[in-house]
């Protein structure tokens, strides 16, 4: 994402050149990631228990395949791939927004208690009440939003400070993981395993029926967030600077954080609390762009690519077992982030 602030356009050509270079770079990264996502998606369409030729896939996509290929592609693989893209995008954007508004590279919905509260709601709903399917998703979204609102109120004290919000979030996260541990250690081992699968996060329950409401919600929230793009960039400069530049601090931050929480809640309700996607996407995007900005949109693309790749590895890397996706997200994201960090310090661009 690039900054164009018409009120401060300087007459210095150098900065204009730099800005154009930045814009080119982010465009290039976005195009590259889109190509990557499409490529991963294509491979994902071809892979699976039923081995299909590219021709089968094409005719199935055009609606002219046999009923069998039509079912495999249209009802199994395609919704799963699209769910991975939508959920990954939600997590990536949400993580990047948290990191930039709270100005902490470790802040992400997983660490400051958003996904933790979603985990509690999910695990209790599954293990204690035996809820599943769409009602589970709704319960998780509602629970997460209530928990996030509670955290915001707890952190409110003569105004809002990012530092206090982060600490309250940590407390809530600890409390929630305590509850999850308690439920998992006190329940029957089979229930515990089911709960653990959900806490790990998985795309196994993808279907058009589940995807469409999620995609609609995500689209609305992302559009709302896009309209806040400029104040968000200014907010990254620090509270005092942002206030000086005329951004209404509290209201903007509340709106932005609410949007990020909603994105995380939507993602978690569909696929469970997938670890590390949100944290890693924001940081990877920042380093791919290498312009000092947060790259919130790019982070969404990174999240989608990351989740798509992780889901394929989780399904097909081990011939005997298919793991839930969340098992692999850490393994896929971590080496890549580490590699980017090393490369950045080699070239001296720092972190």
């Amino acid at each position: 994402m690039t900054t164009t602030n018409p009120t401060t356009v300087p007459a210095v050509p150098a900065s204009l050149v730099a800005r154009r270079a930045r814009r080119r770079r982010s465009l290039g990264v976005a195009v590259g990631l889109t190509v990557l996502i499409v490529a991963l998606g294509t491979v994902a369409l071809l892979l699976g228990k039923a081995s299909l030729t590219p021709g089968d896939v094409l005719s199935a996509l055009a609606g002219q395949g046999t009923p069998m290929t039509g079912f495999v592609i249209g009802e199994l693989r395609l919704p799963r791939i699209l769910t991975a893209v939508v959920v990954g995008m939600c997590l990536g954007v949400s993580g990047s927004v948290f990191q930039s508004t709270l100005r902490n590279p470790l802040a992400s919905p997983d660490i400051i208690g958003i996904t933790a509260s979603a985990s509690v709601v999910g695990v209790v709903a599954i293990v204690v009440f035996g809820i599943s399917g769409l009602s589970l998703a709704l319960v998780v979204i509602a629970g997460t939003l209530v928990a996030a609102a509670g955290m915001y109120l707890l952190a409110w004290r003569d105004g809002m400070s990012a530092y206090r919000l982060v600490l309250v979030g940590l407390g809530v996260a600890a409390l929630c993981s305590g509850v999850v541990s308690y439920v998992l250690t006190r329940s029957d081992i089979r229930d515990a395993q089911m709960g653990l699968v959900w806490v790990t996060g998985s795309l196994n329950n993808s279907s058009w029926a589940a995807l469409l409401p999620v995609a609609a919600c995500a689209g609305i929230i992302l559009a709302a967030l896009a309209s806040l793009a400029r104040p968000l960039l200014v907010l990254e400069l620090g509270d005092a600077t942002a206030a000086g530049l005329g951004v209404p601090l509290e209201r903007t931050r509340l709106l932005i954080i609410a949007a990020a929480v909603a994105l995380a809640a939507v993602a978690v309700s569909t696929a469970g609390p997938l670890a590390f996607v949100a944290l890693a996407s924001g940081q990877i995007a920042r380093r791919l762009l290498n312009t000092g900005g947060a790259g919130i949109a790019i982070s969404g693309f990174v999240g989608a690519a990351l989740l798509l790749a992780a889901d394929m590895i989780a399904q097909f890397a081990w011939p005997t077992t298919a793991f839930p996706t969340g098992v692999v997200t850490g393994l896929v994201g971590a080496p890549f982030l580490i590699w980017l960090l090393i490369r950045a310090s080699r070239t001296g661009t720092g972190s």
């Binding site: 660490i111 952190a155 600890a174 653990l196 670890a275 969340g326 950045a344």
Partner: protein, 318 residues
Amino acid sequence: MLVLVCLASVMVGASSIAPGTVLTAFLHFDPADTQHLVIVEKRLPRTLIGLLVGIALGLAGTAAQGLTRNPIADPGILGVSFGASLFVVLGISIVGVSSLSGYVWFAFAGAAIASVLVFSVASLGRDGATPVKLALVGSAVSAACGSLITAIVLSDTQVLNSVRFWQVGAIAGRGYDVLWQMLPTFLIGAILALVLGRQLNGLALGDDVARGLGQRIGVTRLLGAAAIVLLCGSATAAAGPIAFVGLAVPHIVRVFTGSDYRRVLLVSAIVGPIMLIACDILGRVIAPPGELEVGIVTAFVGAPFFIALVRRRKLPTL
């Protein structure tokens, strides 16, 4: 207060034991007396381990937050907790280790390997192990270890069954053998952490200022990381991953002492064990006839307390 908590920890349990009996148990130990046996063989090592683990987590948490300049950092930030957990899981699933004192060595090995990996990767490049790189590489390695743990645990119900109790974090059921195993690394780590206060104060002002004050930043980071690994590694080996104590204690202490690391470190070493042992006592009496693991109690009791404290009007930052 710490002394009082320790005394209470020896007295309170499934059967309460009068202070007089405790005293005679220490002075005139009678192996035939069950109460004496309970005190000396069960409650005393449990309390001592609680003491060491609490000190270790308090110090390691403070050092981790100072080193990374990030209030989110907990003692596990260098990959210690997840590395230790991964090796314990591997030990259970591949080698078939089943005793708590057997876990200790695996936890140590995992903590050491993970944190050496994190520190050396973060040190690559000219700028060395900057706080952001340390924190990010640490959480990346932790995430990767976490993935592997989940993969193993999900494919083997037996392993899940033994690991889920270890992973909560508890100081119950450990004997003197665990205590002796953790003592040497704990002592080195604690001394290292306590002498680093001045250096951490320098780092808190930023790398450039610290350098200007004549500090060798690289050395400070290396020693700090070593202290964290030794402390958190021995704590995790003895009690399982109880990260929240290490995260919360420095923040709680800062409310009373301000941000001077020399004082924060010292007071954390006292508040850490108070919090841990008090929570352990609570866990023993709260759900009779069973017990609640201290890792769960610290989250249930510690977190609300922590949130209430953080809501104070004037919150000292790092």
